[in-house]
Symmetry: C2
Subunit: 161 residues, 2 copies
């Protein structure tokens, strides 16, 4: 059976131990977490966990069922079942020697990124986009020498609801 | 003692159970997690966890010590001890009635956001920035009617290293 990338958007009570329960469920059963974000929503007592996991259909169904069994899980949404907007943010610190700077700026411009910090020998770049776009800019910058990368992992919202 | 917001950047082995160990450590000891991101780095066998936690100095020192005791934790960096660039990404789905659209577009423009989805009655907006900027745009859009918010939580990289 084919394994697919699923984006779960999980609304949970903003209480200590809730994240631990969910992450523990995944690791205890050997489910894979590709990325995970947790942050507050507009309601102070509700947090949203966005988790990307890869699995075939039975595994994904199992994950959903198990999540709903947890207390403090309010809603589980498998966004890959619907139309959705997905974005991720990445900060890239890239070596920027004198003769590389023009090319780096061109790449940043093409990917609609921003330079958010500059040193004598580096630029720090901010880019957002779907996973494929971030992979593409990282590939283009690699020959310059990537010093450091921090990524958020995916967040997503359903379209047209 | 004053409680301060700390951003931890934690490099870990990309193995099942590592995230679970860290999150479990926090919840088991009652340390507060304000936001958390985990995603791959440029090295496939290393992941970076960026975690925001609030605490006074002894608590933060304790957290650092405990983190280093965990197997698979490669490096713990408390970025708030140095100069750093911090960013967060938020997707905001806002009600966009005919007579509100011009004002929403003005707000998005001022905050250098992007409209990434549009429906008959809503816009979905992407904005990045430090926490204060995101709080400000959310405050400005609130009167329009915020339908949904997904945020990544903070990521950060040190400056000038």
């Amino acid at each position: 059976m084919t394994e697919k990338r699923h984006i779960f958007s999980i609304l949970v009570d903003n209480k200590p131990g809730v994240l631990s329960g969910i992450v523990g469920l995944f690791s205890g059963r050997g489910y894979n977490i590709e990325s995970l974000c947790v942050a507050e929503t507009n309601e102070p007592d509700v947090s949203r966990i966005t988790m990307v996991s890869i699995g075939d259909k039975p595994v994904i169904e199992q994950i959903k069922k198990q999540l709903y069994k947890l207390i403090n899980v309010i809603k589980v949404n498998d966004l890959t079942e619907t139309e959705y907007v997905q974005r991720e943010l990445v900060l890239i610190k890239v070596t920027a020697k004198q003769d590389q700077r023009a090319e780096i700026l061109r790449i940043v411009d093409i990917f609609r990124g921003k330079i958010v910090d500059v040193g004598f020998e580096h630029y720090t770049i901010e880019v957002t986009g779907p996973v494929e776009k971030l992979a593409a800019i990282l590939k283009m910058l690699k020959p310059m020498g990537i010093k450091d990368v921090a990524r958020t992992g995916n967040i997503a919202l359903p379209r047209n609801q």
